[in-house]
Amino acid sequence: MTVAIATRQTVALTKRSTLAILRQPVLIVPSLVFPLFFAALSASSFSKTTRLPGFPKVDSFLQFTLASTVIQGVLFGSITGAAALATDIEGGFFDRLLAAPTARTGILIGNLMGSALFGAAQSAIFVFALLPFGVRVEAGLLGIGAMIISGGLIALGISSLMSAVAIRTGSAEAVQGAFPLLFVLLFFSSVFFPRQTMHGTYKTIATINPISYLVEGIRSLVLDGFSGLAIAQAILIPIGICVLGFVLALTELRRRLGAR
């Protein structure tokens, strides 16, 4: 198979998976509205906490919370793509794709690109929604660009992990069931509050949770400005998740095909 054909197929599937998300306002609206609601809520709740010892130097809690909003929104949004894949598997569409002479990786990427694009769009929307409320992104336009790319990569990574679940179980319900796990991962990290203010076991868990470093990278772009370390955290960690997710998903795919 030539690279050109494989690319065309991947593009076609990307288009389909993107449209599949756009056509479901029931899924899109909550993953845009909720994170913004929680941003507004915590800005009003925690505005006085920014003077606590250990809290990083910020203009406002809202500025601190921008990175939280991006991560939270993108993580929840990426459930959508994986659930759609599970539905494809349940409905038999996925098998039809596999039966076609299409590259496996292409199928997988095509199916997840919709999520990735949506994740990037979410990041952009969150940043531009908070800017009018006095939130400054110290790293400037370059930083915003990095955040958008990061959002896309996070979505791609998480949805590839979820796809491994979807391919293994073939059930949309199982994918939805993994949702609370994401919640746990999110909370036991520094996504919502600075790690420096935490104590004891909780702090230890947040310190070993990779999500902490991811959010701190993005947050550093917002609060401190452009730096190699921040970029590395915001981009390389999601790439790591993508690699892990794709390896798992392709392994599950091979297992699924081998089982027949």
Binding site: F37, A40, L41, S42, A43, S44, S45, F46, S47, K48, T49, L52, P53, G54, F55, P180, F183, V184, F187, F188, F192, F193, T197, M198, H199, T201, Y202
Partner: protein, 275 residues
């Protein structure tokens, strides 16, 4: 033709006892399902546990804010967890009602000559039982995590009262929506509205520490009173929020008023099912 008006006019006492019996029969069914359909109840049980642990761990430092009413973050967040869990217990029976309507089982209940109130009181008893289970479970766990009831047993009682109140309100609201939507859209709306109502309060920090729009909304949200009722036995005795009649009556009035409205909403919805 003298067609038996006999069958209709049984005396009032009997009617009352049959309402209680029917309610109890339906409540037992709701309770049995805890064991038989754990996937519906376990999340309602884990959710308050998670809220308690995650919130008090993540936001541990907020107790260092000036005038924060307690120095233990678990004391502050466990009541919130219990309120969330109780709300879930209430709307959970709304989910069951939707399931029953979708399978047609609810037709069977509606066709029976039992009093219409028992179709609401039955699930209410089940919701209360679930809320009590949540209280027992989460408070026990709270003790392990270092929760201290500053006002002793009375503080436990006010927390349980708040839990039962929220379960009642959410049950009425949940059933009312179930009867009107009759499908899973109702369930989504139940959860969403419940979350919003509970979050538009001093859920995370005390009212004086909230600012801006949230301060304005939380001040007039009656659920704020219920949260104050729930928390008053756990904040330090020197705090203005500690156990007192002044911190109690507002919560009780809110529970009473919202429960009555929610149960009427449910009863009216039930009557609309044959339309």
């Amino acid at each position: 033709m003298n067609t038996s008006s006999m069958a209709v006019t049984s005396n009032g006492d009997e009617d009352e006892s049959s309402t209680i019996r029917s309610s109890w029969g339906l409540a037992v069914r709701g309770l049995r399902n805890i064991r038989r359909l754990p996937s519906a109840f376990v999340p309602a049980m884990l959710m308050p546990v998670f809220t308690t642990i995650a919130f008090s761990g993540t936001f541990a430092a907020i107790t260092e804010l000036p005038n924060f009413p307690t120095s233990r973050s678990v004391n502050w967040f466990m009541p919130l967890g219990i309120c969330f869990g109780s709300a879930f217990a209430g709307v959970g029976l709304g989910f069951s009602a939707i399931r029953d309507i979708e399978t047609g089982f609810y037709d069977r209940l509606r066709m029976s000559p039992t009093s219409r109130w028992s179709l609401i009181i039955g699930p209410l008893i089940a919701a209360w039982s679930r809320a009590i289970l949540i209280c027992v479970f989460v408070i026990s766990l709270g003790f392990v995590l270092g929760v201290r009831f500053t006002a002793g047993v009375t503080g436990v009682a006010t927390l349980v009262a708040a839990s039962l109140g929220i379960a009642t309100i959410c049950l009425g609201w949940g059933l009312g929506l179930a009867f009107r939507f009759r499908d899973m859209r109702g369930a989504a709306l139940m959860q969403l509205s419940m979350f919003v109502a509970l979050y538009l309060t001093p859920a995370q920090v005390p009212l004086p520490l909230t600012t801006g729009w949230l301060h304005a909304v939380a001040r007039i949200n009656p659920v704020t009173n219920i949260l104050r009722l729930a928390r008053q036995g756990l904040v330090s005795k020197s705090s203005v929020d500690s156990l007192s009649w002044a911190n109690t009556w507002g919560g009780l009035v809110a529970i009473l008023g919202m429960s009555i409205l929610a149960l009427i909403f449910a009863k009216r919805g039930l009557a609309k099912l044959d339309k």
